[in-house]
């Protein structure tokens, strides 16, 4: 009895380990190719060619970039706080990767007679966990900016942190409206409800829009990339960084972009559901169906990543007071209204449309 329990646990540990390693490496590879895609998209929008030297179509460019960053000299400023200076990029990277733990990447796979759920941790506070991790992401920026002992870095870190905190509020409020509809905080349940009905974006178009704008702000992407405004702050919070530590900061931004696209797809666009097809009718396909669903998730995510890049090269940067005004005076009241209206409709529906 006891040994049987142990054996099962061992399998579980192996399964989760494989999943974690797989998902982490997938996100890293995707983030790598996001840098390539970003340059290609930018080139296309600006009528240029983009990177085309390394390999066919420049497809090896991210590897070359990574090699360059690794080979560069690592400089730690004399007056900086050594430990915190190194901790900063590590934290940024860690916070970026941790969110992927609660995302359902697909249904249950059948491997050698074992049901393998393609979600690392199906906890019943899934969305709150995402928020907790996102709010941790601020520390990477703040610690890095402060430890490099440079006024510009500090200013940029303060900007970044206050921006992330302010945009967390409308993000949370827009999600509350969504949660009232789904009635669950579990990511897997939210996707499950969308599998056999309409996607949540149809019920919550305003909520989705607010979430999208906030996601841009949380990732420090262009209309809101004030922490990296070169013309005001030289280079931003990573000014003193060099070599791979700088690479980690930039990489964390791309991973954040990927993860926030995944979260948006999961919450609003049906997660791993294949659009226009009733997935249950294909259940005879077994494992292939699960893989197809995973593929459809990644296609949706790729579309969102493209939207991120499209916006970056289309919309110019905001001024800092405009950014704060938009956040506090525009998005928060809008999401509050959205929340109240949704609550009223949910309540009316529960009462059978009687007042």
């Amino acid at each position: 009895m006891h040994s049987a329990l142990l054996a099962i646990d061992l399998f579980l540990v192996i399964e989760k380990l494989v999943l974690i390693v797989g998902i982490v490496s997938i996100s890293l590879v995707i983030a790598m190719y996001e840098t390539y895609a970003e340059r290609k998209v930018a080139a296309f929008i600006q009528d240029r060619r983009g990177p085309n030297r390394a390999g066919p179509f420049g497809i090896l460019q991210p590897l070359a970039d990574g090699l360059k960053l690794f080979m560069k000299e690592e400089i730690i400023p004399n007056t900086s706080n050594r430990f915190l200076f190194i901790l900063g990029p590590c934290l940024a990277m860690l916070a970026a990767m941790m969110t992927s733990a609660v995302i359902p990447w697909g249904g249950t796979l059948n491997v050698f007679g074992r049901e393998v759920n393609l979600q690392i941790a199906d906890i019943n506070i899934g969305i709150l966990y995402v928020f907790g991790v996102v709010s941790m992401g601020v520390y990477g920026i703040m610690i890095g900016g402060w430890a490099s002992n440079n006024k510009f870095s500090l200013m940029a870190a303060l900007r970044g942190a206050s921006q992330v905190i302010s945009y967390e509020l409308p993000m949370g409020l827009s999600l509350i409206a969504l949660l009232m509809l789904t009635g669950s905080l579990k990511m897997s349940e939210i996707v499950g409800q969308q599998l056999d009905s309409w996607y949540n974006v149809l019920y919550q178009p305003l909520g989705f829009f607010i979430f999208l704008v906030c996601a841009f702000a949380e990732c420090n992407r262009t209309p809101f990339d004030l922490p990296e405004a070169e013309n005001e702050l030289n280079f931003g919070y990573h000014q003193e960084y060099s070599s791979m530590k700088l690479g980690f900061y930039l990489f964390a931004e791309y991973i954040n972009m990927f993860i926030s696209s995944v979260v948006m797809v999961t919450l609003f666009w049906g997660g791993y559901d294949i659009p226009f097809i009733n997935d249950t009718s294909l259940s005879g396909m077994g494992n292939w169906l699960v893989l197809l669903q995973g593929l459809s998730l990644f296609i949706k995510v790729a579309i969102f990543i493209f939207v991120f890049m499209w916006v970056r090269w289309t919309i110019p940067r905001f001024r800092y007071d405009q950014l704060m005004n938009l956040g506090w005076k525009g998005l928060i009241p809008l999401s509050l209204v959205n929340m109240v209206v949704t609550a009223a409709i949910v309540l009316l529906k529960a009462n059978g449309w009687k007042f």
Binding site: I125, S135, L185
Partner: protein
């Protein structure tokens, strides 16, 4: 871990290090909450305290640019008074905890899943709805107060 990092909060020379240790303390406390199956409380503690309030603390301290040299020297008698007051507080706490310990354990074992979000919501909006609403009004008034001060 919570105790160790709490001690480090007090004895670090650098105020920024103190704040960072305090964040680690909050993490440890959240860990305790989750171990007690109070997941909602644990994660909200992380979001609100570690995620928002401590960031504001860090803001202020980083901008004040404190370091060990500019720290004002404290009076010897003040230190002694501090030690005495702290000792008294410790005594009171130990006395209070000594009696409360057994009761607390029994309550925790019986209602293991009270911290899950569904039960928490039910308890808040049925049994404790009046205190809940009063505290929300308190928050609202605090918010209005902050706006009024900010407008000056």
């Amino acid at each position: 871990m919570a105790l160790g990092s709490a001690i480090m909060v007090v004895i670090s020379r650098n105020p920024v290090h103190s704040v960072l240790w305090l964040i680690i303390t909050f993490f440890a406390i959240s860990g305790h909450y989750i171990l007690m199956n109070a997941q909602f409380l644990g994660i909200v503690n992380l979001i609100v305290y570690a995620g928002a309030i401590m960031v504001l603390f860090l803001f202020v301290i980083m901008l004040m640019n404190l370091n060990a040299e500019t720290e004002p020297q404290k009076n010897k008698w003040l230190k002694l008074a501090g030690v005495v007051a702290g000792g008294c507080l410790l005594l009171v706490l130990v006395a209070a905890l000594k009696q409360a310990e057994v009761k607390g354990k029994v309550a925790m074992l019986e209602t293991g899943d009270i911290g899950l979000i569904r039960n928490l919501g039910k308890a808040l909006f049925t049994d404790f709805v009046v205190p809940f609403e009063i505290s929300s009004i308190l928050f609202l008034s605090a918010m209005v107060g902050a706006v009024v001060i900010g407008k000056k």
